[in-house]
């Protein structure tokens, strides 16, 4: 495969917590413009891998290459600057800020106003501030949250909170959007809306990395999936092939059935 097609490569990622090996030499590569699903039973290491990819944990070994450049995976804000944005499994919005402000925070990494600009309200700062507000509104609208702009994030219904996290992540202008169980706790209607949103994001040229337990969603959406079990990748490929994989079936249903 020509390297230009690959957006993110993780090679031989190892992460230990004390005596527990959460990730034992996991490698994945995500192609530009695809939805890459990451599945596996609870405790398989999916979120740990996410946290390594987004700089929240430093890997004990292994390397990350994003868009042809090695990523120093120990600083979340640098990862965001590189163009990887994420959402969290247990929603982590800025609860006391409005929906609009949450998205405006996402623009931080692409804007520059400093203390002096802010205090003196320079022309540049004012123009930038207007651009931040406008972009944040567009993104709220994009995610179907335009009517919620003024609500505090913590007061939003659950499904809206999930989509607000996506809007906030999109505000950082990511090339890769990593979603940790975006459909968790959603009802069928909300999941359908989410699915449309994800397809739209993909259509706008953003690559998606998706952890999801909703098999119908992840198998239906993903171009390729990788399956983790006990910190190791046991399968990778197109959804249909992975679903038939004996190891995957064993991991999910237990050995006795095979």
């Amino acid at each position: 495969m020509p390297p230009a097609d690959i957006l993110l490569t993780a090679t031989g990622i190892i992460k230990n917590f004390g005596g527990l090996t959460a990730l034992n030499g996991v490698s994945i590569s995500v192609r530009r413009g695809e939805i890459f699903g990451l599945i596996g039973p609870n405790g398989a290491g999916k979120t740990t891998l996410f946290n390594v990819l987004t700089g929240i944990y430093a890997a004990d070994a292994g390397e990350l290459v994003f868009d042809g450049r090695p990523v120093d995976g120990s600083k979340p804000h640098l990862v965001a600057q590189h163009g990887i944005a994420r959402t969290f499994q247990n929603i982590r919005l800025f609860g006391g800020m409005t929906a609009l402000e949450n998205v405006m925070v996402g623009r931080h990494v692409r804007t520059h106003t400093g203390v002096l600009g802010a205090v003196l309200r320079t022309r540049g700062a004012a123009i930038e501030e207007r651009a931040i507000t406008q972009r944040a509104r567009e993104l709220l609208d994009y995610c179907g949250l335009a009517a919620r702009a003024g609500s505090l994030a913590r007061d939003l219904p659950y499904g809206d909170q999930r989509r607000l996290e996506i809007a906030r992540a999109l505000a950082t202008d990511p090339r890769l959007l990593a979603l940790d169980e975006p459909a968790a706790g959603m009802n069928a209607t909300e999941t359908a809306t989410l699915r449309k949103l994800l397809e739209r994001i993909l259509g706008d040229g953003i690559t998606l990395l998706l952890i999801e337990h909703d098999m119908k969603l992840v198998m239906g959406l993903s171009h390729r999936v990788a399956v983790l079990d006990y910190g190791e990748k046991i399968a990778e490929g197109e959804p249909a092939a992975v679903q038939r994989d004996a190891k995957v079936i064993t991991a999910y249903l237990g050995g006795a059935l095979v």
């Binding site: 929240i56 804000h77 965001a80 800025f94 006391g96 931080h108 930038e128």
Partner: protein
């Protein structure tokens, strides 16, 4: 918006006129002591607004904030008194004090970056005490701070040939030192309010609030949390440093006694009681908590008048009632008298 704009303008003009007339009105109504208390209240507004940046915006519980007030005060006192024989102009000293305090803010903030909540509070409390103890003991072997005796004969503010410590007459009004300082402090307090509000409404302020709400999520959104926290410490310390310099010149005398833990806690109370994170609330908190303990001094004379004798020593009763007031406010208004409400300003801004 267009309908309320003229009224708003009128309201601002009235407020501005009241503020300008305040020292004279207060002197006539309550006496000179209260002009002095008003001056001190203005200083505390600056202090509380500075601490509000650290505690209210960025959510970093700092119990040693008074240290920056001390640094600013000593910076001014040492360079404008007979202590070291130096008499630098205040136009140099105030920015210098702000800068030195900011450097201290970063120095004391840096080791605490990984701490939060109670742990941060304990460490900052320790730092605050270290500064005070240091000032107390820097009189041996070389006498720098004059130790517990403090520094006396600190130069008053002087603008050109106009000394704020002297009485001046202008347009039929007599401006005593207390009046002169009032106007300087008022200008500084108003400036502090403007700076606070503008920071709050900016990319920087949002980053601080984001860190307060969820540091990990903030970092994942690309905010350099280390730098932003250090910036909060430095900005907060700057306010404290300027207020310290003004305090030194106003009092003419400072000693480590003025910078105790209780003073840190007092400023924190202003922020928390007023409404953490809300500039207007913090200003209100600063004014109330400066005025309230002073007003409670009148408990003694009141007892005398009502009962013919003083049953309880006013100084005991004063702190008792003050404590009671704090407890009641926390019970009935746990998020402050005037709590921060994340504004819908942007909303209205775009819609209107």
């Amino acid at each position: 918006m267009s309908a309320s704009a003229p009224w708003r303008r009128v309201a601002w003009v009235v407020i501005a006129l009241l503020l300008l007339a305040a020292p004279f009105l207060i002197e006539i109504l309550f006496g000179r002591t209260w002009v002095r208390i008003t001056d001190v209240a203005l200083l505390f507004i600056m202090l509380a607004l500075g601490l509000n940046i650290v505690v209210g915006f960025a959510g970093l519980l700092d119990l040693g904030y008074i240290a920056f007030f001390a640094v600013g005060a000593y910076c001014y006192a040492l360079l404008a008194s007979p202590q070291l024989g130096m008499h630098w102009p205040f136009l140099v000293l105030l920015p210098l004090g702000a800068m030195v305090a900011a450097v201290f803010g970063i120095l004391l903030g840096a080791p605490t970056l990984r701490l939060r909540g109670d742990y941060l509070a304990i460490v900052t409390l320790g730092f605050g005490e270290i500064i005070r103890v240091l000032l107390n003991n820097l009189n041996r072997p070389v006498n720098i701070t004059n130790g517990p005796q403090g520094i006396t004969l600190i130069d008053p503010l002087q603008i050109g040939g106009f000394s704020l410590a002297q009485t001046h007459s202008f347009a039929g009004l007599t401006f005593t030192a207390l009046h002169n300082y009032y106007f300087v402090f008022l200008a500084c307090a108003v400036l502090s309010i403007i700076i606070s509000r503008r920071l709050e409404d900016s990319r920087i302020g949002r980053a601080w609030v984001a860190i307060r709400e969820d540091e990990l999520a903030a970092a994942s959104m690309g905010i350099n949390t280390r730098n932003m926290k250090l910036l909060a410490f430095a900005m907060g310390a700057t306010f404290g440093g300027v207020a310290g310099g003004l305090f030194a010149s106003f009092q003419g005398f400072i000693s480590p006694e003025s910078f105790h833990l209780i003073d840190s806690i007092m400023v924190l109370c202003m922020v928390v009681l007023g409404g953490m994170g809300n500039v207007a609330g913090v200003v209100l908190g600063a004014v109330l908590l400066t005025v309230l303990p002073e007003a409670l001094r009148y408990i003694g004379p009141l007892q005398q008048r009502w009962f013919g004798e003083v049953f309880i020593d006013p100084s005991d009763l004063r702190m008792l009632l003050f404590g009671l007031a704090l407890v009641l406010m926390m019970l009935f208004r746990p998020s402050g008298i005037w709590p921060a409400r994340r504004r819908k300003a942007e909303e209205n801004h775009a819609a209107g």
